[in-house]
Amino acid sequence: MSKLNSRIPEGPLAEKWTNHKSHINLVNPANKRLIDIIVVGTGLAGGSAAASLAELGYKVKAFCFQDSPRRAHSIAAQGGINAAKNYQNDGDSTYRLFYDTIKGGDYRSREANVYRLAEVSANIIDQCVAQGVPFAREYGGLLDNRSFGGVQVSRTFYAKGQTGQQLLLGAYSAMSRQIGKGNIQMFNRHEMLELVMVDGKARGIIARNLITGEIERHSAHAVVIASGGYGNVFYLSTNAMGSNVTASWKIHKKGAYFANPCFTQIHPTCIPVSGDHQSKLTLMSESLRNDGRIWVPKKKEDVEAIRSGKLRPRDIKEEDRDYYLERRYPAFGNLVPRDVASRAAKERCDAGYGVNATGEAVFLDFSSAIERYGREKAAVEKIDNPSIEKIRDLGKQVIEAKYGNLFQMYEKIVDDNPYETPMKIYPAVHYTMGGIWVDYNLMTTIPGCYAAGEANFSDHGANRLGASALMQGLADGYFVLPYTIGDYLSNDIRTGKISTDLPEFEEAEKSVRERIDFFMNNKGSKSVDHFHKKLGKIMWNEVGMARNAEGLKKAIDDIRALRDEFWKDVKVPGTANSFNPELEKAGRVADFLELGELMALDALTRNESCGGHFREEFQTEEGEAVRDDAHFTYVAAWEYNGDPGKANLYKEELKYENIELKTRSYK
C-alpha cells in the first residue's frame, strides 16, 4: 500500500503556508526541553535546522562525519542565493520566482512546496544579513545582485565566488552559539550507519565514532536527515570526497521512499577531466556565464589546429566561432538553464568540435566582457583615448573583483591564465534533484523521520536552477522544518526519554557490527576505489547526460555484476577499532552500488525527456527534449523491498492549478 500523502494544505496557493502555520500543532516551550531531535549533516539544511530547533528549545544532537560542522560541502557553493526581494525593481516577485523554479524544473515539482520556497526566500536574506553574512554591496551600501541561468531578472545575492561558504559559516555560527549554550550536542567525526525504529517510528540512530571505531546508540523523538546529495555515485563529481548517500539509503531501506533518483544535474561549466588519476572535478560557477561567452570553432580544421597547439583560441576569427548557445537560444543565450547548456556542450563535442585533447571541452571566453568593462571603467575614470592594452587592464581588474577566486582556482588546476586565454570547460555531475520523498512537512514515509535540503526531492523537479540550492537548504532548515516538526512532536510530549536499551537498538547495532566485521574479514584483492571507479564509469556512460533504454538495461546488469564482485573481492585494510577511512568508504560504496541500480531503473521507467533526464528516444529533430505530460506528470517514489532492482513504484500525481503546463522554451 502506498503511503504517499503529500499533505498539501487547502486554500489558495499564496495562503497555504500561512494557513498551515497557523493551524499546525505546536509544542510549548517547557515541553520542548523534554524532546530530543537528531540532525544528521551540518550543511546549510542541517546546520540551519539544528540551530533553529535548538533556539526553539528542543534538545538537539547533531552529527557530521567531518572534523567540524563548518566543513560540510555547502561550503563549496560558489555563485549565489536567489531571493524574490525585487531590490533591482526589475519585476521580480514571489510568483515569478515560483514560476521560474517550476518551469526551470521542467514541470516536475510540487506547486505548493515551490511557492513556499519562493515565499520564504526574502526572509533568508534578512536573516543572513542579521547574522553578519558579508554579502556583496554596491557603493551606496545596499546589497548587490547578479543574474543566473533560466531567469530574466537579477535576484541572486552573492559574496564573490564564496556565497556557500559565507552562508554556511553563518549557519555554523548560529550552531556554535547553541553548542556553547548546551542546546546542541555536536558529534564531529561520527557517521550514521543505521536508523532505529520503534513501533514504526524513527527513534534513533546507530553511529560510528570515526576516531575510535566505537559503535554508539543515540535515541531521539525525531530524526532529521540532511546529509546532502548522492552525486558521488558517479565517482567523479563536484561533490566533496566524503559526500555520500549512506544516511539516505539507510532510511530508504527502513521504509522511506526514494523519489526521482534519476534526476541528476550535470553542471555545464566544470574543469574538464585531465587523466585517470583524477579524484574529483571542480566547478566553475554558473555566475561566470553572466560575463563569459561559450563557443567552439565552426571549422573542423580549426578544431584540429587548436588541439595540436598550432592555433591559439584568440587566433580564431570572430566569424569562425560558433557561439552555439547564443545561436540556438537567442532569448536566453549563455544563460540557459544548466541541463540545456550541458546537453548543448555534449552535442558539439560529440559532433567532433571539442577543443582539448580528449575532445571533451568547450571555451568559456571572457575577452568581450573584459573589453566592455574596460571601456566602462575608462569612461568612469575619465581616461581619454585609452589604448586597447589599457582597456584590457582595466577590464581585468573588474573581472578580478567579481570572480577573482574562481580564476585563481582555475589557474592553479589547469596551469593556464584565464585572463589571457579562454577557460576550457565541460559538464560534470554536480547536484541531485532526486532524493528522499517528503510531504509538505518534510516528513518522509517513516513517521518521525524528516529529510531536508539536497537529501530530499522536493523543490527542483527535474532540473535545479542556479543559486536555488542554497535557498532551499536554508529555507528548509531555518523556516520550514522548525515549524512543521512541531506538528508531529506535539504527540510526543509525554513520551519521555527513549531508552537505548530497547531491543530495536540492540538489533540495529548488531546489523551494523556484522557489516563492519564482514568488511574487515573479507580479505579480498581489490581496493574500495577500484569498485567505485568502475561504478562511476557505468553511471557516467549509461545513466549520465543522455540515456537510452538499451544502455540503461545494460547498466542494471553491469551494476548487479559489479555489486556481486564487490562483496566477494573488496579489500579493507586496517582495523575496525581505529580511524580507518577505507572502512568508511567501503560502507558508502556498498550503498552507492545499490542506489546506482535504482537510478537506472527509474530512468528506464521514465519514458520521456525532462530536465536533467534526457532519453535519446524522446527528442525533436533539433535535439530538444520531448516531455510527455500525459503519462509522466508524477513523482516516482520507490519503496525498497530487499532488491533495489525490484523496488515498488508509487506515483504521486502532480497537479498544476496555478501554472499552465507548457513546453519549456528558452529560444
Binding site: V120, D126, A130, P134, R137, G141, M241, H277, I413
Partner: protein, 250 residues
C-alpha cells in the same frame, strides 16, 4: 616523475610516531598533492600495508579540512593554496618530500597526518556569532546600508577556512590570525558591532584555555595562510581587546 616520500606515521594519539620512507613513481604534474597520496595509498593497500591517514574533503580549497606540513611549510611550497590545491608540477623528478601533520599543542595528532582541530570549534562556540535567533522577522536586509569598503573588508576576513595553517606555522602556535579574522569580520559590520566587546573577551579567553601561544608579531601566519588573511586583523583584534578590557563593560 618519481619521488621519495618521508611521511610521519603514528598509529594513534598515545603511540609514538616516526618518519617512514616511501617511493612513488609515474606521478604526473597535473595531479594534486592529495591525488599523489592516493596513488601511494593504493600501492600500500595492494601490499597489505596500512594506508596513510590524512584529512581532506572538498579538494577544492574551501572546506579547510586538508592539513599537511610539506617540506617544512603548512600546505607546502605554493602560495595562496591549500594542500588539496597544490599540484605536483611544483615538484621535480627525484625530489624527496617530507610530509608531517600540523603540529601544535592545541592540535593533538589523531593518526598519521590527521590532527584534532576541535579547539577552533570551541573558540567559535565561545563567541563567534551574532546573538540573533532565526525568527525570520528580523529587519529588512537593506534597512542598514553598509559602506562597501567595510563590507568588503569584513568579507576578506570572513574567507578564513579554519584550516589551522596559521597555528602550525607560528613558532608560538598562536591562533591569533584565526580568531582575529572572525572578531574583525563581525566587528566591522553594524550587526556584529553590538556585542563586539563581549565577543573578543570570550573568544580570547577560550583561545588561551586551549593552549595556543602568544603572538609575537612575526607574521609567518600571514605568509602561509592559504586565504591571504591579513595581519591587520590581529592589530584590530588587539585594539578591540584593549578597549574591551579597559572599559570592563562586557
Amino acid at each position: 616523475m618519481n619521488l621519495k616520500l618521508k611521511i610521519w606515521r603514528q598509529p594513534n594519539a598515545s603511540a609514538p610516531g616516526k618518519m617512514v620512507d616511501y617511493q612513488v613513481s609515474d606521478i604526473s604534474g597535473d595531479m594534486s598533492f592529495l591525488e599523489m597520496i592516493d596513488v601511494l595509498n593504493e600501492q600500500l593497500i595492494e601490499t597489505d600495508e596500512e594506508p596513510v591517514a590524512f584529512d581532506h574533503d572538498c579538494r577544492e580549497g574551501i572546506c579547510g579540512m586538508c592539513s599537511m606540513y610539506i617540506n617544512g611549510e603548512a600546505h607546502g611550497p605554493d602560495r595562496g593554496v591549500t594542500t588539496c590545491q597544490l599540484h605536483m608540477r611544483k615538484f621535480k623528478d627525484g625530489d624527496t618530500i617530507y610530509i608531517e601533520p600540523f603540529r601544535a599543542k592545541g592540535f593533538p595528532v589523531i593518526k598519521d597526518l590527521v590532527v584534532d582541530r576541535s579547539a577552533f570549534d570551541r573558540i567559535m562556540a565561545a563567541g563567534g556569532f551574532v546573538s540573533v535567533n532565526t525568527s525570520g522577522n528580523t529587519m529588512d536586509a537593506n534597512a542598514i546600508p553598509i559602506p562597501k569598503p567595510d563590507a568588503d573588508e569584513a568579507f576578506d576576513a570572513a574567507t578564513c577556512i579554519g584550516c589551522g595553517a596559521c597555528v602550525a606555522t607560528c613558532k608560538n602556535s598562536s591562533a591569533m590570525l584565526f580568531v582575529s579574522a572572525k572578531v574583525s569580520q563581525l566587528a566591522l559590520l553594524p550587526q556584529g558591532k553590538v556585542e563586539a566587546k563581549q565577543r573578543v573577551l570570550s573568544m580570547v579567553e577560550q583561545m588561551d584555555k586551549e593552549g595556543f601561544g602568544n603572538c609575537s608579531n612575526t607574521g609567518a601566519c600571514e605568509v602561509e595562510c592559504p586565504k591571504g588573511i591579513s595581519l591587520s586583523n590581529i592589530a584590530r583584534m588587539n585594539r578591540e581587546y584593549l578597549s574591551a578590557s579597559i572599559t570592563g563593560d562586557k
